[in-house]
């Protein structure tokens, strides 16, 4: 049965293998070059010419990066559509199930073999793409220091293996329920997206209790004031923690509360009189030369207020990868068990 399952699957398998080989060749050719550039970057400080190296990394690798990421991102969904959905539905649609299920092989073994061969291949294909991409992109990943961003988290390391298992099982389930290939493929894509997008948006940040850190505003770079039609207000930009997943950041006073207009009026009179910006345009005084009124006001704010950060720290990256892969593999197992039961009991 394994041989025949493979024989029926061969053409589809070769097609995806072709894409993987194309990426492998591209990665193998360009990868070492970027890796050596990155090596130079660690030693360039002494010579003092780091910008040109950084530029060639950013202009080179970062240009191709999105294409490879996009493929790795959509691959599990495509596998679910083109490998999972037709697996049983095509047999039902074309009537060949009457041939397949009356050979000297029980339906139980038929389904389990199909699950193992095609489901296993899905995980293998997505895993291969992910590992190749992870290896190739490691210089730019290190440089960007943003591994928790969904484009990297969802396309690299081990999470895509879980996504592929899930997408495949979803496709197979849609196929046995619809009994027709095209609606099953459409359903697979729709449900896959409808699960994945809310998952990384709403579920992933909550998988573990975030770490809370209180920071003095004296050391924070990305803060300042903005003049709007309503006057001057205090702004604090997103805090970029290297490789971490930011959950929330807020400015909290010792006795609670925020930096209000009124508070600024009471404590930073000099700042409010500063400059002559046109209203509505908004003037950020966050960079460049900082007038004394600015630094005075920041110091005053820092006495009363501090920044509270909640985030998933960088060292949880692998834990999150494992958790997410496991969740999707469990979902895949549940769907597989359901479609196995459905094929054996309900299509009868």
């Amino acid at each position: 049965m394994t041989w025949f399952a493979w024989r029926q699957f061969r053409v589809q398998a070769f097609l995806v293998l072709g894409f993987l080989i194309a990426f492998a060749v591209f990665f193998a050719i360009t990868g070492p070059h970027y890796a050596s550039l990155f090596n130079d970057l660690t030693t360039c400080k002494a010579k003092g010419d780091c910008n040109s190296i950084t530029n060639s990394l950013v202009n080179g690798q970062d240009t191709y990066f999105p294409f490879a990421q996009a493929f790795s991102l959509v691959l599990p969904g495509l596998l679910g559509m083109f490998w999972g959905a037709p697996l049983v539905s095509r047999e039902l649609e074309s009537g060949t199930y009457r041939l397949a299920w009356t050979q000297g092989v029980t339906r139980r073994r038929w389904v389990l073999t199909k699950l193992a061969v095609v489901g296993g291949a899905s995980m293998l294909a997505a895993g291969l793409m992910s590992f190749m991409l992870t290896w190739w992109a490691s210089p730019i990943d290190t440089l960007n220091a943003n591994r928790f961003s969904s484009l990297i988290f969802d396309t690299s390391y081990i999470a895509p293996i879980g996504y592929a298992a899930f997408a495949f099982a979803l496709g197979m389930t849609a196929g046995v329920l619809w009994r027709r290939t095209v609606p099953a493929m459409a359903t697979t894509l729709g449900v896959y997206i409808a699960v994945r997008v809310p998952f990384f948006h709403f579920v992933r940040p909550h998988l573990m209790t975030p770490v809370t850190r209180v920071r003095s505003l004296k050391n924070v770079g990305n803060i300042g004031f903005e003049r709007t039609q309503n006057g001057v207000s205090f702004v604090a930009g997103d805090t970029n923690l290297r490789n971490a997943l930011s959950f929330s950041s807020s400015i909290v006073g010792k006795h609670g509360g925020e930096v209000t207009q009124r508070w600024l009026g009471d404590h930073c009179r000099a700042l409010l009189l500063l400059g002559n910006p046109s209203p509505g345009k908004g003037v950020k005084v966050t960079t460049g030369i900082r007038p004394k009124a600015f630094t005075d006001c920041i110091d005053k704010i820092a006495v009363t207020f501090h920044q509270v950060l909640r985030y998933q720290p960088a060292n949880r990256f692998w834990t999150f990868q494992w958790i997410e892969m496991s969740i999707f593999i469990v979902l895949a197992l549940l769907l597989s068990a359901f479609s196995y039961w459905w094929v054996r009991r309900r299509i009868a």
């Binding site: 041989w3 000297g104 092989v105 029980t106 009868a348």
Partner: protein, 298 residues
């Protein structure tokens, strides 16, 4: 005694509609059985129940003394040719034979290749490029190379032209002659069955109307023709199958083990086709009656 097919109060329901109901059959081994009935009578349902593609809603079915599709061995003992003879269009004939070899414990590769050779089929040809007759022959080859003890065929010749039909049935007869195999063959064309079958099951309106060896059926069924009258004067041992009246004549088809001795009837033998048509007409009349009653009620 092991029966080729044994059904007890077998029924299959789809939603509220019964595709097959109250089906009780004991078909002995060693026959070529014709399963005849109009389209939608439940022939495919019965055969799918027999190979385990369907599970019964009521009752039970056994083939060769075992539940259908209960084990790989059981599946291996049954050769099945489904309606419209499905094959994998993108795979070659050779690949189909490899599939048979990989999936069936008693696969006879020599037999399969010899048959292809006899049929003049090129093993490298894609199954999707075959004619209807060739495809049916491929499906039959796949079924008989399993070396089955029971061969089930669902309308195998329905889609074939007359020549392909004759060749297919001739092949089937060869197989029966050379092997110890029971055959159940469904068709809505009585003429096909007349040529090859020695046992008949008449299925109409989701029920078994008659079944038995063809010789016995023909011996026990008679057509009575006489002047126009009511038919309640017939002996109670005679089961009335169909009654029709013209202005002056009454014609009755009866099933009776005892000879009809009433001299006011002229007794004629029936052909197989007459017999089958009589049962189908009766079933159709009952169905119409049922619909009329329902419509009348509402």
């Amino acid at each position: 005694m092991i029966f080729a097919l044994q059904a007890t109060d077998l029924g299959k329901r789809y939603g509220r509609k019964w595709a097959l109901s109250n089906c009780t059959l004991d078909i002995p081994t060693g026959h070529v059985v014709g399963l005849v009935g109009p389209n939608g009578a439940g022939k495919t349902t019965l055969l799918h129940l027999a190979v385990g593609l369907l599970t019964p809603s009521t009752g039970a079915i056994n083939v060769l003394g075992e539940g259908p599709a209960t084990s790989a061995e059981q599946l291996g003992r049954i050769g099945f040719v489904a309606q419209n003879t499905p094959v994998y269009e993108s795979l070659s004939i050779e690949t189909h034979l490899k599939m048979g070899a990989a999936l069936n414990p008693k696969w006879d590769s020599q037999l399969a290749h010899r048959r292809l050779h006899d049929l003049g089929l090129d093993p490298s040809q894609r199954a999707g490029a075959l004619s209807g007759g060739q495809r049916a022959q491929l499906a039959l080859t796949l079924a008989i190379a399993k070396r089955p003890s029971l061969l089930l065929l669902d309308e195998p010749v329905a889609a074939l032209d007359p020549l392909a039909r004759r060749e297919f049935l001739a092949t089937l007869m060869e197989v029966v002659a050379e092997n110890d195999v029971s055959v159940i063959l469904s068709s809505h064309v009585v003429a096909d069955l007349d040529r090859v079958c020695d046992y008949l099951v008449v299925l109409a309106a989701a029920r078994v109307q008659a079944n038995g060896e063809i010789e016995d059926l023909l011996n026990s069924h008679h057509r009575l023709v006489g002047s126009r009258r009511e038919v309640d004067s017939l002996p109670p041992s005679a089961h009335i199958v169909e009654v029709s009246h013209t202005e002056r004549q009454t014609t009755v088809v009866v099933a009776s083990e005892d000879p009809i001795l009433d001299p006011t009837w002229s007794v004629e033998p029936l052909t197989l086709e007459d017999l089958v048509l009589a049962y189908m007409a009766q079933a159709e009349e009952q169905r119409r009656e049922l619909v009329r009653t329902k419509v009348g009620e509402s």
